[in-house]
Amino acid sequence: MTLCNADVTGVREVAQGVYVLSFRNPEVARTVLPGQFLNLRVHEGLDPFLRRPFSVYRVEKDVVEIIFQVIGKGTAILAGKKRGDVVNILGPLGVPFGIGGEFTKAILIAGGLGIAPMPILGEHLRKAGKRVEIFVGARTVGQLALHHLKSPHVATDDGSRGFHGTVVALVESYFKEHPQTDAKVFACGPTRMLEAVSRFAQASFLPCELSLEGEMACGIGICQGCPVERINAERRYALVCTEGPTFDCTTIRLREA
């Protein structure tokens, strides 16, 4: 884990309001695993005040990338970064996706900015000898960021590209034609989508890991700000930052969106 300034190497808009920020940090690039995140301080000022967590999107040599949508003060500052600016990074943090194990096929399901961990995840899975099938959903075609995803199956809510409907409905229709038994599901996206993925995976008897978001400050387990409710456990809550952000879908109860 490192806490330091990193030099921004570029920011590019890859879809409507969606940006990829890249920065140089050899330690993170060398050690980060799929599903882990960085807690970023976007500037030295006091407003916005807290760090913001971002999944690692891609790694290329010494350069690490995150992807985000501009939704508030922090992401607006990040989108305005230029080559040579700095971001202060803390990470890599959290428990990575479990890519080992018996399964032969990985089903990756992403909703909206839930694509964030998918390029690095797909790459590691393929290196581990798994076949990867990726499903991506967005509200509309302009918000799709499909770069670095191999032959993605696409769904849009408005039907402007690919399957007309939710990404989970697309996965279900794919499974009807291509029944899978030896697969594991990996998903990231809005809570309602993750609930649907979780129901689908459990009904299909497939192991499934979800990557969650949580309002968090520190990212390292000291602020206790990011609980998620556990099922049938001695302790009622797990922390998204240190016990997640990836969770077996059978161990947690997702919060109502």
């Binding site: 884990m1 916005p48 005040f49 520190c218 000291i222 990011c226 609980p227």
Partner: protein, 313 residues
């Protein structure tokens, strides 16, 4: 440069501590912070039994600050003794255990058990948590109950006893005076300020308990005023807390009368803030030609001559 100070029978190597609830039990940050450079660690609040804490969302960012409602989530005193204290004993800094409880008896039980353990240098008593239904702030806004808890705990320990006060009262100095009379060695001023954040679009409060505790630089001016109020009227050592991010912030607290400071919310941004602040205070004091950082305590120049005021531009 003399950096340390003594409280009751314990010497602290410097005047910078980390605030309860912002540093876990010390082990979470061991790779990021040289804790040996801190005056001490105030642990996360402990109660007799483990507490789950409040449902999410527990935190919300606010301008230059944050609102929290953790609800005293903690592992309980027994798990602390078994799992956390052995590690804390290995640290080259003082360990002040913070205690929160729902009844006077629970405070006594927790402190009584901890007082028998090796490696604990003192106690800080949280009578001011705004985020729990039982105990917490209901004690901290009642001067008689606060004094009663203090005297009951005083009878149980010879170690430094620090009472952490809430700003959510009309006259915090009355509480400081009451706990001093009841035998407290020091007060921590202050816990969080009750606050609220609302999402205009969803029309919902941003945290699950509707209101919570505001912390961070947003509350620093309030904290300075509360420390000043206590220092002006009660002769008791004060741990100043509230939005300290830098050494200069910390010096401001010393000047208005704090004997020491605690770094709180800043730890969520950088857990080594306390170390940076301790070093920064020392170099500030050196620049000022001082031999003892204690010379800054209460050294506010309150004469009505503002010709030296710097412009804010």
């Amino acid at each position: 440069m003399k950096t340390g100070f003594t409280l009751r029978n314990v010497h602290f190597k410097n005047r910078v501590f980390v605030a309860s609830g912002t540093f876990g039990y010390g082990d979470e940050v061991q790779n990021l912070v040289e804790v040996g450079q801190l005056g001490g660690i105030m642990t996360k609040s402990l109660s007799w039994k483990p507490r789950d804490g409040n449902p999410p969302p527990r935190i919300a960012e606010t301008p230059s600050g944050m609102l929290n409602s953790i609800g005293l989530a903690n592992i309980g005193v027994h798990a602390f003794i078994e799992k956390k204290l052995p590690y804390l004993r290995t640290l080259d800094t003082c360990i002040i255990v913070n205690i929160a409880a729902s009844s006077v008896q629970e405070y006594c039980d927790v402190l009584g058990l901890l007082n028998e353990q090796e490696g604990i240098h003192g106690f800080e008593i949280n009578v001011s948590c705004p985020n729990v239904k039982e105990g917490g702030l209901s004690f901290g806004i009642d001067c008689d109950r606060t004094a009663e808890i203090t005297s009951r705990l005083r009878a149980l320990t010879e170690k430094p006893l620090i009472i952490k006060l809430t700003p959510n009262v009309t006259h915090i100095s009355r509480f400081a005076a009451a706990v001093k009379d009841a035998g407290a060695d020091a007060v921590s001023v202050m816990n969080t300020v009750i606050g609220m954040a609302v999402d205009a679009r969803t029309r919902k409060p941003r945290i699950s308990t509707t209101t919570g505790g505001l912390s961070g630089p947003a509350i620093k001016p309030i904290a300075l005023a509360k420390v000043y109020e206590v220092a002006q009227s009660v002769d008791i050592p004060i741990f100043g807390i509230g939005g300290i991010m830098t050494a200069e912030d910390a010096v401001e607290f010393l000047l208005v009368g704090a004997s020491a400071v605690q770094i709180g919310t800043a730890n969520f941004i950088d857990p080594s803030t306390g170390v940076t602040v301790a070093q920064g205070i020392e170099s500030f004091a050196r620049q000022q030609g001082l031999n003892d950082i204690g010379e800054l305590v209460g050294a506010l120049d309150a004469r009505r001559d503002f010709s030296v005021l710097q412009s804010w531009l």
